[in-house]
Amino acid sequence: MLFKLAWRNLWRNKYRTMITVASVFFAVVLSVLLTSIQRGAMQTLVKGIVGFYSSYIQVHKKGYFDEQTLDNVMELNDSLVASIRKQPNVTHVSPRLETFVLASTGESTEGCMMVGIVPSEEKELIKLGSKVRQGIYLADTDRGVMIAQGLAQKLNLKLNDTLILLGQGYQGVTAADKYPVKTIVSFGSPKLNDGLLFMPLAQAQRFLSAENKATSLVVAVKDDRLVNKTQQEIEKSISPAYEVKNWQQMIPDVVELVKSKSSSEFVVVLLLYMLVAFGMFATLLMLMAERQFELGMLMAIGMKKAQLARMIFLESVFVSLVGCAAGLLVSITITHLLSAHPITFGGEMKKMYENMGFEATIPTSTDPSIYYTQVIIIAVVSLVLSVYPMLKISGLNALKAMRK
């Protein structure tokens, strides 16, 4: 009965009800789209750095992360690799030997990060194969370097030119050699694109006099949401002489960026819902004033305050429910469509994005948490707002309400 009454009451002032429903609807749609695109962009960014370079987890000799020098290299051993690989969420484990070197053509010299990798592993692990712009993808035993596009440009290097590398090897030994440029690779992140140089691990170990040594084991995971759990499991299964770092620890600047972006996104969403809340509150104010007499009459003939309160509460619930359901329906459809068929843009933007190694699309996230967050917000807003009619009703006196 209260349901019927509440439902019909919604139609008393059709336009006001529709405006309120519409405000909830648009708030849900806008904040889902906003959050979805924002998160999508963040995921792309994180993938661009984490997925394409650092990977989600790394294992080092204890102390390496704080002091990244060759003095802190670790001896490679199969049982260590095996115990990391046996974790269910781990897909790849691959050693790297990296250090800072000077790269020179004879005419110009640039500092860069030289990374010794196992090309066959990293092809999958960081999708290095897909980054090749010119030349061939090196085999594990090849001699030569794969240089990032930006660095190649700075050094004015072309494919098959010779590059001179100078550095300090293991235990202070001087390292110097020259290698042919076999490959030019490109990275989305300018930081990576301007300063990276890859070569096969075996060649790097020889160059740095660090036979069978590595600075890190790069670990790739199946499910990036389980990174922290996997990190802990690896920690438990290997000797405490090693340290295990996750991507958030390795690149705190990206984490900060994600955090600040999502807090600015939160502010916008909050403002949106505050607007809606004001609208809903105004509706409640009008509604309670208009129905004063009727509520008094109902109390006089024997309707309890609790029943009146439930009726008014149901009315707000209907409005929120309909607005929220319709908003979710539309926004879930839009975000899923966008993520299945991403909008590709053309022209200048397209070129810019592709040069940076990103796809020229509007990325969208369809993380379920985006949707149920809206439901929670609407529910909280409705609940908080319903305090007003509850208070009003609890202070209601039948006679006073019926007096004009």
Binding site: L5, N9, R12, F293, E294, M297, A300, M303, K305, L399
Partner: protein
Amino acid sequence: MSNIVIDAINLNKTYNPDTIPVKAIDGVSLQMQRGEFAALVGPSGSGKTTLLNLLGGLDKPDSGSILINGTDITKLSENRLVDYRLHNIGFIFQAYNLVPVLTARENVEFIMLLQNIGKAEREQRVANLLNQVGLGDKMNVRPSQLSGGQQQRVAVARALASKPQFILADEPTANLDSHSASNLLDIMAMLNKEENMTFIFSTHDQRVIERARRVITLVDGKVTSDTGLVKTQPA
């Protein structure tokens, strides 16, 4: 069982006791028998509404007691009073008695829903009552499509639906033309007879007063004449 439905003893009610005191009810005592059809008359401001509100448990007297079938309703808490009104007192107000979003049938049924009466009984009673007040053909019509007189008849049906001890009507005809007013009185008189329902209604319409079998006159909050009890008054 005694036939006295209402026994009000020495009621007093003063509005605004702290600022500008208005003594609205001044030492009123009143008894009502089951089946009475009584008019409460008196000039505007004489305290008719105040007295009806006290008898209906909508307001409390400053002193005095109101026994309804032996229960002193002035001693009931606010919450108990709501329930008491629901089960024991029928109300007809001057206007806007009905819930605008409910049909005539639903308005009458509503009070029985509040009383948790079963569906079968509700439906039968609603149909009977609306037929009795002559609105059998308007059952599914909303109040806005009914005339003022028809709305008041629905209110009468609703007041009866809850099977109260008595029905209070504060100037039920004040907003009606004379034809509708007399029609409403016909229906109330008929229900008073057929259902033995006790009615007390306030009015200052002479034609309505003439229909009453008992006339209680209030002046300045005091009962100055009561034809039902004092039969010695000259004609």
